[in-house]
Symmetry: C2
Subunit: 344 residues, 2 copies
């Protein structure tokens, strides 16, 4: 399932806030609309927002009046800042923006040639993303055996990418290889991506699953057979510390206490070797409204005080391996990850 594409000079994407109730596709016409869609989580998932931002740059490029090259590049950089500011934790958002800028800078020619280069770069990134995810899925599927029960956090399926996904991409691939799997899906408060998006994707794919509340992961591992934990990542530091959706660290602790191997599935674009450790990762604090209410339904009074970090950092010591498109990084992560980044 391809969840975003370029059509009629617009970026068309599925509105993830309307799922699982209805399948609505939205058309975005400029970088501000893309930044807003990233911020309000019409689109979410690290690879997906990277590609969306790249298309946002292509949209910006089309709308810049035919001015001089320097002014054009200056306006592209301004568009990049708008897009980068929409979600501070995701490293591949900045990476995607930078990559389009590089492609544009490499072209000598009139404004429409530069705009063409931006669009070409974005489309190439979308296609590459699908290819990268397919490779990650193949690498990860080797860890999954017939009959396994997998535990999973948030949503990391095709909705989180352009197609396939990261951790759920591994599940889809294992399923396609004929392995019978059962997936325990953390609901993933506050936005319930596990219950709303991952369950929706597994329903569509005909894969066996059960949604559990986030607090039940330890109980399920202690009392039942769980073979492997698979999660995505928003940012991986050089030492393997991994930022991912809030609750991932708690899941990793529960996995460790029950001897369940905990794997991160993330493309190389998520790896940020410039960060020595997870302590350097900025964690986005989101508005409390998404805790007080769930898609319009009020859960508790708006004046009740809340604290709403969007991500946490799982220390590398809790991670059995980091599955990338270039192989599975293992401890010590610094060397192993650097090797994979060099191959990319």
């Amino acid at each position: 399932m391809r969840t975003m594409e370029w059509k009629n000079n617009c970026l068309v994407m599925i509105d993830q806030r309307r799922l699982p109730w209805e399948e609505v596709w939205v058309e975005l016409e400029d970088e501000h609309a893309v930044a807003a869609a990233i911020r309000d989580m019409t689109v979410r998932g690290a690879p997906a927002i990277g590609v969306a931002a790249a298309f946002g740059m292509a949209l910006a490029a089309r709308r810049i009046p035919a001015t001089g090259r320097d002014e054009f590049l200056g306006q592209m950089e301004a568009a990049g800042r708008v897009l980068r500011g929409s979600r501070p934790t995701a490293v591949n958002l900045a990476w995607a923006v930078e990559r389009v800028l590089r492609a544009v800078r490499a072209v000598v020619g009139p404004a429409d040639a530069l705009a063409e280069a931006a669009l070409f770069a974005a489309q190439r990134m979308a296609d590459e993303d699908v290819e990268i995810n397919r490779h990650m899925a193949l690498n990860g599927a080797a860890l999954v055996r017939d009959g396994d029960t997998i535990i999973h956090h948030c949503n990391t399926g095709a909705l989180a990418a352009v197609d396939w996904g990261t951790a759920l991409g591994v599940v889809f691939m294992a399923h396609q290889q004929g392995k019978r799997v059962h997936v325990l899906l953390d609901e993933t408060r506050p936005r319930l991506q596990g219950a709303r998006l991952s369950a929706w994707e597994l329903e569509r794919a005909g894969i066996s699953y059960e949604v559990i509340v986030d607090g039940a992961s330890g109980y399920c591992m202690r009392t039942g057979k769980v073979n492997i934990a698979l999660v995505g990542a928003d940012r991986v530091a050089g030492n393997g510390d991994t930022a991912n959706k809030i609750g991932t660290y708690n899941l990793a602790l529960a996995a460790q206490d029950n001897g369940v191997p905990f794997f991160v599935v993330a493309p190389i674009s998520t790896v940020d070797l410039s960060l020595k450790s997870g302590d350097e990762i900025e964690v986005e604090q989101r508005d409390g409204e998404e805790m007080h209410s769930s898609y319009g339904a009020r859960l508790y009074p708006a004046h009740f005080k809340v604290r709403n970090p969007a991500f946490d950092v799982t220390p590398a010591r809790l991670i059995a391996g980091i599955v990338t498109e270039n192989g599975i990084a293992r401890m010590p992560y610094r060397e192993s990850l650097a090797g994979m980044v060099a191959k990319a």
Copy 2:
């Protein structure tokens, strides 16, 4: 705040399902109404459902026609089975029923004397519960210092008991002693008792707090100063393994990983020395509807598959101490708990 009382030959209690939106008090007239109120969680919290069940026995006793003693006792035992069946995990529910039965059996006289004994026993248990909770709160408050941040799961305040509460009783006592505390409240999916009931109680008491999603406890401990974790219990096995609301085990793991001492606050009536370990504790599996919907608001489609265990078991090795009305039990728990039970 006294949350249940005997009035006009009825048991009157606050309807916890309507909080925090409205303060509605319900009148229950017989044991079936009490069992239903326990099952549908109009009343919840281990001490509270114990006392409610005792009053349920008193209500049953009043309605038994003036028959022979054996038949009277037989009908009381039948009422006890109805009440005990309403929540299988809570040991003090069975304990409360048994205690009223014993009080009735000890009386020789006509049916109304037996009924009188049942009511007297129930009222005494309610008064004792308040006294026990006050003692627990005092014992626990000694662990809390001025300026501490406390992390907490579910609801364990006056709503969970007749007054004071268990873990939150400690918070109220520390506050009353003039210690400034800040409390991080796990939301506690699926029923959100932390966000709805604990926040409501702390708002009323003017105690500083923030609600967090259950998955954020690890993040909050890793990135901020958290001094102590306090939770209640539905059942404590002889070795100290503790059954409590689902998510407690995950919180205990996060506390351990961050060096935060994790204390259980529970009355002796919660301790079941007959259980060798937590493996023998039956964990109630509840209907999935309370995951799909939250008090009328649909969160995700009813056909999405879910698994909904109501409790988990935290292994004794993760517990720094068990605060009871007779002191704080410490490792090794078997001896320490047995000593406290003997004093009760």
